[in-house]
């Protein structure tokens, strides 16, 4: 089957405007601007497309929240791809950039936006500059700027570079960052779609790169064609990023509903070196780890099934951990990430991450006290639901998930303290207390 999203794997030059147009590119936008904006939203609603950034919120419903009569609306593309284990948006924007631009323009038309901002993480410097050139190509062809395709609707597309802050992938922090404010989350309501909650406090749609890359196909081929893939509650295709101990790490575009087993063993070549798979992270480091049991491996990769299995599909960033990994070490790695990335605004997240890291460092050094594992679990539990954004809730999952499923790995730290100490010596020291 040819790809819907990762079309660069089928056509190496799809990033060039003429190749993209010769292969059906911008047909979705042409169809969209010939329809009333509300009808475009209806098509996306009917497709059942859900947000690919992690939350899985229905895209058409999100677009439908924007007041059509407001004079200034915005679309913001979230290209702040920073979740460990996630590298799909980078491939999309590198290999098939016009499809993302086209999807963003369709969204902008549907909500009558006057501008699209593509917020790229700072490390995507080269990528963002290439994207600027692609936007200019699209402008020259009449897809961007004044009176797009003779529709009477005008829209600009701009890139904006972040500067190294995971929190800016959180939509309200991203909006603050774009406004030149500290990239910290906002109190909601008002939500971004509402007056007072969006970019420059105007109604704003914030969509992930991959979400928007689906939209041209949906407009060009119809909602029913899209629903041929996936399941009733999780329609369509998804890019699964496979990393860690996979034989063939990489991006795999497959229908939602593909099982973990098929993804890992048929597409990603199984576990490196023929080792036994021990744990699977499904949403980068943000959702609880799952043990690699048969029941988990036979779980279909859908929003609903992964939730029922005790984790979250999130951005579908699948990190494989083999039998050689002590999960308390993996928890240390993950918590160190959150400790570094906590923006410091909410006390439970800022302090919770700090203390979880202290405990995990002590445990991994082999100097832990017997009650430390329970204390770690307790500190994590105290963070549940107490922060302005999801980072606070994500940050507690590494500790809680590993304690729930791999408590024996923590016990092993007490038994083999000297051995483990040698192993973590090469770890970079933790960062000083945050921002």
């Amino acid at each position: 089957m040819s790809h819907i999203l990762l079309r660069d794997l089928d056509l190496a030059d799809i990033g060039k405007l003429d190749v993209y147009v010769a292969n059906g590119g911008y047909e979705g936008l042409k169809k969209a601007v010939a329809m009333p904006p509300g009808a475009v939203i209806d098509v996306v609603k009917a497709s059942g497309l859900r947000g690919r950034g992690g939350a899985g919120f229905p895209t058409g419903v999100k677009w439908g929240f924007i007041p059509q009569d407001n004079p200034v609306n915005y679309v913001v593309v979230n290209a702040d791809e920073s979740e460990p284990g996630t590298f799909k948006d980078r491939q999309l924007l590198t290999g098939n950039p016009h499809q993302v631009i086209e999807g963003a323009l369709i969204g902008a038309y549907a909500v009558r936006a006057r501008a699209v901002y593509i917020y790229c993480r700072g490390e995507f410097w080269d990528l963002a500059h290439r994207l600027d050139a692609r936007i200019e190509e699209a402008r020259a062809a009449g897809f961007v700027g004044e009176n797009i395709l003779g529709s009477g609707w005008s829209c600009e597309v701009y890139t904006h570079l972040g500067a190294g802050a995971y929190i800016c992938g959180e939509e309200s922090a991203l909006l603050n960052s774009l406004q030149g404010l500290l990239g910290q989350p906002r109190l909601r309501p008002p939500f971004p779609a509402q007056k007072g909650g969006g970019l420059y406090y105007e109604p704003t749609v914030v969509n992930n790169v991959e979400t928007l890359a689906n939209v041209p196909y949906i407009l060009a081929n119809g909602a029913d064609a899209y629903r041929k893939f996936g399941t009733e509650q999780s329609p369509g295709v998804k890019i699964f990023c496979v990393s860690g101990h996979a034989e063939r790490p990489g991006n795999y575009e497959l229908p939602l509903g593909t099982t973990f087993r098929e993804l890992i063993y048929e597409h990603a070549g199984g576990v490196r070196g023929g080792k036994q798979l021990k744990g699977i992270l499904t949403a980068g480091v943000s959702a609880p780890i799952l043990p690699a049991t048969d029941a988990v491996l036979d779980t279909p990769l859908t929003y609903e099934d992964v939730l029922n299995a005790g984790s979250s599909l999130g951005s579908a960033s699948i990190i494989l951990l083999d039998e050689t990994v002590n999960m308390a070490w993996a928890a240390l790695k993950m918590v160190r990430f959150f400790k570094h990335e906590s923006c410091g605004k909410c006390t439970p997240c800022r302090e919770g991450c700090y203390w979880m890291l202290q405990l995990l460092e002590r445990l991994n050094r082999g100097g832990g006290a017997p009650g430390d594992v329970d204390l770690l679990d307790e500190v994590a539990a105290q963070m549940i639901g107490k922060c302005l954004c999801a980072l606070g809730d994500f940050a507690l999952n590494p500790a809680r998930g590993t304690i729930q499923h791999f408590r024996a790995d923590y016990d092993a730290l007490f038994e083999a303290a000297g051995e483990v100490e040698a192993e973590v010596e090469t770890e970079p020291v933790s960062e000083p207390v945050g921002v």
């Binding site: 490390e123 500067a163 802050a165 406004q179 030149g180 420059y200 860690g244 101990h245 990190i319 790695k333």
Partner: protein, 161 residues
């Protein structure tokens, strides 16, 4: 002065946003490019361009990891040591890289060419270990490849991906 030297770029950047303050991040990058790191003078110029107080500019510069308030090497090597990369040897790679260069984090080699830093996920986990040399991605690394890259930079004075 940035306003003179980067006049066109600044005007184009300000034109992207309805609000001058939104240009603070791109203008900080310009200042960093010009001065190597964000000196007090650079921050003042950014504040004037974006019509912000210098305190506000400093708070933005301090919040993000990619704005530098201290000098870095001409080639700043940023190695990802997050979980997916660490599962494929990134911690050992990073230790070996520091040993080869003879510097630790926050230090610059005597010739001013190199500095190192461990960074959070670079979105290149499928090609781990990975690092950025300034803004260029360098992936599928091992220490021998990294040594070859470093020596090529020492010989030519530039990095060619």
């Amino acid at each position: 002065m940035l306003v003179e030297k980067y006049k066109d770029r600044i005007e184009k950047t300000l034109g992207k946003y309805p609000d001058k303050r939104s240009a603070v991040m791109p203008v900080l990058y310009m200042a960093q490019q010009e001065y190597g790191h964000l000196t007090p003078q650079a921050m003042q110029e950014v504040a004037d361009i974006c019509e912000m107080s210098v305190t506000q500019v400093k708070s933005i510069a301090g919040f993000y990891t990619m704005y530098f308030e201290k000098p870095k090497g001409k080639f700043h090597l940023q190695v990802c040591t997050d979980l997916p990369c660490a599962l494929r040897g990134a911690d050992h790679f990073y230790a070996a890289l520091k040993a080869y260069l003879g510097i630790d984090e926050g230090e610059v080699t005597g010739d001013g060419l190199f500095s190192v830093e461990h960074v959070m996920c670079l979105a290149a986990c499928d090609q781990a270990p990975a690092m950025q040399i300034n803004f260029s991605y360098c992936t599928g690394l091992d220490i021998e490849k990294a040594k070859a890259i470093i020596e090529a930079i020492r010989t030519t004075g530039e990095y060619k991906p």
